[in-house]
């Protein structure tokens, strides 16, 4: 009898020590993703059939429930929920050309970096607030490239030292086509109501996607002396 009691106490002790809390598996994760099936008020899970499976949340879909709460919210991408935050970096916020010499083009680079893990992709657009402008309101016009064939939406070759103005080129990850072979574009000019142009975009996910922006300026011998500047705005937005 005494032995039985002793065995029972040992069994209870062992059971208490070894028992782990039962947790509902609400997510599966990898280095880049966390796939979640959040249980929101109603049943959720993985519908399966003999031929396919798909993660679905049915939370708050019932009309009665919506009528009582008055809203339904989903934050983030529901089906492939990223553990990579949407992050955007610019390597240098000040692009200094120094002293400009007539007929001697100057170039400067900076690097744009994007990390994005959610479904749907991302885009980065660029625009300038105005052409390079001096305190005396003189401007260095946006370039039209060697064959006068480039603007804010179409790139053109700019290799000649006798081509003047201000423009940019892109290289690296996720950049639009058309920049290869020494091609440049104008920045979309907000003052002229031009729409911002995409300089990086991707449907895929990735960490540290990098693209180099090459800024180029060349002045004529009639360019008024002065310090010229403008603001280039890069807008990084995720997709929907």
């Amino acid at each position: 009898m005494k032995v039985n009691w002793l065995l029972l106490i040992i069994f209870i002790l062992l059971f208490s020590l070894a028992a782990k809390p039962v947790l509902a598996q609400s997510s599966v994760s990898s280095d880049n993703y966390e796939i979640t099936w959040p249980n929101v008020n109603m049943g959720a899970g993985l519908p399966t059939s003999s031929s396919y499976k798909l993660g679905v949340t049915t939370g708050q879909n019932a009309p009665g429930l919506y009528t009582s709460t008055g809203y339904k919210i989903r934050a983030g991408f529901q089906y492939i929920h990223s553990i990579i935050p949407f992050r955007f970096s610019i390597s240098d916020i000040s692009i200094a050309f120094g002293t400009l010499t007539v007929g001697t083009p100057k170039t400067e680079n900076n690097i744009l970096t994007v990390s994005f893990g959610a479904a749907g992709g991302y885009q980065v657009t660029a625009q300038e607030n105005k052409p390079l402008t001096s305190d005396a309101n003189d401007t260095i016009a946006d370039t039209t490239c060697d064959a006068s064939d480039c603007d804010e939406s179409d790139a053109g070759v700019w290799t000649l030292d006798t081509t003047y103005g201000f423009g940019y080129s892109m290289s690296g990850n996720d950049v639009p086509g058309g920049f290869s072979g020494g091609k440049y574009k104008q920045f979309a000019d907000t003052a002229a109501a031009e729409s911002a142009q995409i300089v990086m975009s991707s449907l895929n996910v990735g960490r540290d996607r990098q693209a180099t922006v090459t800024y180029k300026v060349n002045i004529t011998n009639i360019q008024a002396a002065g310090t010229y500047g403008n603001i280039i705005t890069f807008i990084a937005t995720p997709s929907y």
Partner: protein, 319 residues
């Protein structure tokens, strides 16, 4: 002589001092991160909700920031957006006034300092008026750096803006009309057996609320062998088109079957529902897979073999 010595010594000392204590001009980089990247809300008129956003500065410099809400419209078929940056957009898009910050010390549009390595939590409040029309409203919450003062040399200042999208449906009953149209289901007619066929599904949202297609593409061969592709439930906004991607091994990717060798006739079927798994929408097509490259290779090899052999026979007969 003494004067020359003093001048030279002073010059050398100055140069030495300059080289020793000169501060290197470091590039000023900036970095911004935001979460969540997307907010989907369905709400009744007269109701309000809040959502917390985390804006962080993983960079090495403090950033002077501000915020704004802009309307956006879909651009292209791959989920790109166009922001409406016109100064009077609040007048034409009254719904922008429904948004505000609920932070005690920060209002929407206020300037604030985001310290290097720091984080700012923003509580966005959405209050929909009782008379708001039942419709879809799309906006982007933008956080932007304030440009630094210009230096004394010619150049440009870079300004960064980072956004997060808001998809808002105002509905009384939570059941807005959802309708889609299959604009194109493109399947190649004939492929090489060693190629991996790509299927293009383009859908248009013809309803009154944004929606997600949910379903699969099934590829069935002559011998009932099956390949299943899961459609990625991406949002299609009202009156817009979207090319639907698939998902495999947790990655969004083009709808392409992972096959090594295909032969014969294959039937391709896309079945999906709107915001739920169903077979409400169906598109079908067929393609043929033939070993074209293999046959061509064999034919060319046989031709070369035959020519060589024929030449050898002629050479033999001559000697």
């Amino acid at each position: 002589m003494k004067k020359v010595f003093i001048t030279t010594a002073s010059f050398l000392l100055f140069t030495f001092y300059f080289l020793l204590f000169a501060i290197s001009a470091n590039a000023q980089s900036l970095s911004l991160a935001i979460s969540p990247p997307l907010l989907e809300v369905m709400i009744q008129p007269g109701k309000s909700i809040t959502q917390v956003y985390k804006l962080s500065n993983p960079g090495e410099i403090d950033l002077a920031m501000t915020s704004k809400i802009l309307p956006f419209s879909p651009q292209g078929e791959k989920g790109e957006i166009t922001l409406d940056n016109r100064p009077n957009n609040t007048l034409t898009n009254q719904y922008l006034t429904w948004f505000s910050f609920q932070n005690a010390n920060l209002a929407l549009g206020d300037k604030f300092l985001l310290k290097a390595g720091g984080e700012q939590e923003v509580v966005l409040k959405l209050k929909v008026p009782g008379n708001a029309p039942e419709d879809d409203y799309y906006a982007t919450l933008l956080f932007e750096t304030l440009p630094s003062p210009f230096s004394d040399q010619s150049g440009a200042q870079a300004q960064a803006k980072i956004g997060t999208n808001l998809l808002l449906t105002v509905s009384r009953d939570g059941q807005p009309p959802r309708k889609a149209e299959i604009i194109e289901f493109k399947v190649p007619k004939i492929i090489d057996s060693f190629d991996r066929p790509h299927f293009l599904l383009r859908l248009k949202n013809t309803g009154r609320s944004f929606l997600k297609p949910m379903g699969i593409i099934t590829v069935t061969g002559w011998f009932e062998q099956k390949y299943i592709l899961e459609l990625l439930p991406e949002n299609i906004l009202v009156d817009s088109l979207r090319q639907i991607q698939c998902q495999s091994e947790d990655n969004p990717q083009p709808c392409r079957i992972n096959s090594k060798f295909l032969l014969g006739r294959y039937q391709v079927k896309a079945e999906f529902g709107l915001d739920q798994l169903s077979e409400d929408y169906l598109a079908e097509a067929t393609f043929f897979a033939l070993p074209i490259k293999l046959i061509l290779g064999l034919v060319i090899t046989a031709a070369i073999f035959w020519i060589v052999r024929f030449k050898l026979v002629i050479d033999k007969s001559l000697f």
